[in-house]
């Protein structure tokens, strides 16, 4: 077997690269291993960048020894899902309404533009005041992020419903309500799902940033706590856990997407008859 990268040993190379990164990290930060060449003494590299072995033991502690991270993960997950759910439903409703009512959309257009271009993360302190330090303020932040993604996609989706499909449904006898239910809504939801990865990702960002800015539980809270005591190893551990969590979330979304979007042609699909 050849060692040159090829499609067959892709995974080996991917894992190898990860291992190499950790080894590099370890070698560069382990006190006493290399003579200090950037910092004044050999403890400073570990202070700024953490040590992979300690990070790993921290993660092990979280998941196995003390098993206390599950509570925080669950909180972050609930916040993400709530933000995604509420944001999607609101975005879907608003998108359908504005796309089907040209007058309302004309009136609200500058406001929507303004709200969308505003850096909405800055609302987090206000939400903390309004909704307290619990789950609600994080969900609210996530909702503001998710809402606009879904809203614009639905708006676009409704505008781009094929006029022929629409005329055909009308000729088949669809009432305005049936048009909404059987033509606009399926077309719009397909756009919602096409933005699923982005919106779930943003819901996650909203949850973590919200926690980081003020909370009493969640993975963002763990990172905030560790940072307060300059415990860089725990901060790194938190970042790694969040990254892995985001990857799992993304994979789950991909799976759901494939199930729901069965009717959409995928590139390279040749199952025609």
């Amino acid at each position: 077997m050849s060692w040159r990268p090829n499609p067959k040993n892709l995974r080996v190379w991917q894992v190898g690269l990860l291992a190499a990164l950790f080894v590099f990290w370890h070698v560069m930060t382990k006190p006493g291993l290399l003579p200090p060449f950037m910092f004044d003494n050999d403890r400073q590299a570990a202070f700024f960048f953490g040590e992979p072995l300690k990070v790993a033991s921290r993660i092990w502690n979280w998941f196995v020894v003390e098993a206390d991270i599950y509570r925080h993960l669950a909180v972050t997950l609930i916040e993400t899902l709530l933000a995604f759910g509420v944001g999607s439903v609101l975005g879907l409703g608003a998108g359908l309404w504005l796309a089907l009512s040209p007058m309302a959309s004309a009136i609200l257009e500058p406001y929507i533009k303004a709200l969308n271009s505003m850096p909405r993360i800055i609302l987090a302190p206000i939400f903390a005041v309004w909704f307290g330090l619990g789950i609600a303020s994080k969900v609210a932040l996530g909702v503001t992020l998710v809402f606009f993604i879904v809203f614009f996609n639905v708006y676009q989706g409704v505008k781009e419903v094929s006029p022929v499909v629409l005329a055909n449904a009308r000729m088949l006898g669809a009432s305005p309500r049936q048009l909404l239910r059987h033509v606009y809504l399926p077309s719009a939801t397909s756009w919602v799902f096409s933005s699923l990865h982005t919106s779930v990702g943003l819901a996650f960002v909203g949850a973590v940033v919200g926690e980081y800015l003020g909370s009493s539980q969640g993975v963002g809270y763990l990172i905030l706590q560790a940072e307060g005591t300059f415990d860089i190893n725990t901060v790194m551990a938190g970042i790694l856990v969040l990254t892995a969590f985001a990857l799992v979330l993304d994979a789950a979304v991909g799976r759901i997407e494939r199930r729901l979007m069965k009717w959409q042609p995928r590139a390279g699909e040749t199952e025609k008859l």
Binding site: V164, V165, A167, G173, E271
Partner: protein, 269 residues
């Protein structure tokens, strides 16, 4: 004699350019035509002569600038509820399976046995085994057949067809034409069939109406096709009467086609 199934009376359609209200385009001008109950009428004409506009008016999707549509004697207001419309472009809902698409109209009307009727129609157009396929998993011909089943499942009294087979290859097209003729033969509905293909028009219809080139196109000839039914579209094309009719209609149509072509060239320059 009872009122005709469909009557267009002095239909004119003028479109105004939204960006430039001074720009007007009259697609069809003073068009009158009648489709009797059980009659198969084709409208032929050069490209861009407003054939589809006429059909949209007959369907009630487009309101004419002047003139009136009568459906079984009653003036048409809003959508033509007694008509089924087969579109030129893809009209199936991509998020519904073939069966779901055929069922759609029956569902909208709250029919209790929608599924059974739809399954029966899918079988009739030869797609009984493909009910669970989504449109993108079907070939162009199969999608057209699904659209045909979708339209006919509602059992409309008037069938409007807008170049339904123009996107198909010649072989598939002939099969579809024969299928449509066979289905029509059973039910004898009024059909208004739009096409740019003279062969197709003669082979299928009782009457062929020739439209002049646009703008402001209007009927310039009407021919009764007295070929015996049932017909096979491939066989009928070799009969002497077909050749005769073809020559007669083409003599009228040719000048218009050339006119239409010259206009398109002018626009392009």
């Amino acid at each position: 004699m009872s009122a005709p199934a469909l009557a267009l009376e002095g239909i004119s359609c003028t479109f105004v350019d939204k960006a430039n209200p001074g720009q007007r385009y009259t697609a069809v001008n003073e068009v009158s035509l009648v489709v009797a109950e059980g009659e198969f009428v084709s409208v032929v004409g050069p490209t861009g002569c407003g054939k589809s506009t006429l059909l949209n008016v007959a369907a009630g999707l487009l309101e004419p600038s002047s003139g009136q549509v009568r459906v079984f004697g009653a003036p048409l207001e809003g959508l033509n509820r007694r008509a089924g419309y087969m579109f030129q472009a893809e009209s199936l809902m991509p998020w519904r399976t073939a069966l779901g698409n055929v069922m759609a109209g029956l569902e909208f009307r709250g029919s209790a046995d929608a599924r059974a009727v739809a399954e029966d129609w899918l079988r009739r157009v030869g797609l009984g085994a493909f009910g669970d396929r989504y449109p993108h998993q079907l070939s162009g011909g199969m999608r057209k057949r699904t659209a045909l089943a979708q339209t006919l499942a509602l059992d409309p009294d008037i069938i409007l067809m807008d170049e339904p087979f123009s996107a198909l290859d010649v072989q598939t097209r002939q099969l579809m034409e024969n299928e449509v003729l066979a289905l029509w033969q059973n039910k004898r509905k009024a059909v208004l069939f739009i096409t740019h293909d003279l062969d197709e028009a003669i082979a299928m219809s009782d009457r062929v109406i020739v439209l002049s080139a646009g703008p402001a196109s209007h009927p310039i000839g009407e021919f009764t096709v007295d070929l015996a039914r049932p017909r096979d579209v491939a066989e009928v094309k070799t009969s002497p009467r077909f050749v005769e009719l073809h020559a007669a209609i083409w003599a009228v149509l040719r000048d218009e086609v050339l006119k239409g072509y010259a206009q398109q060239l002018e626009k392009a320059l």
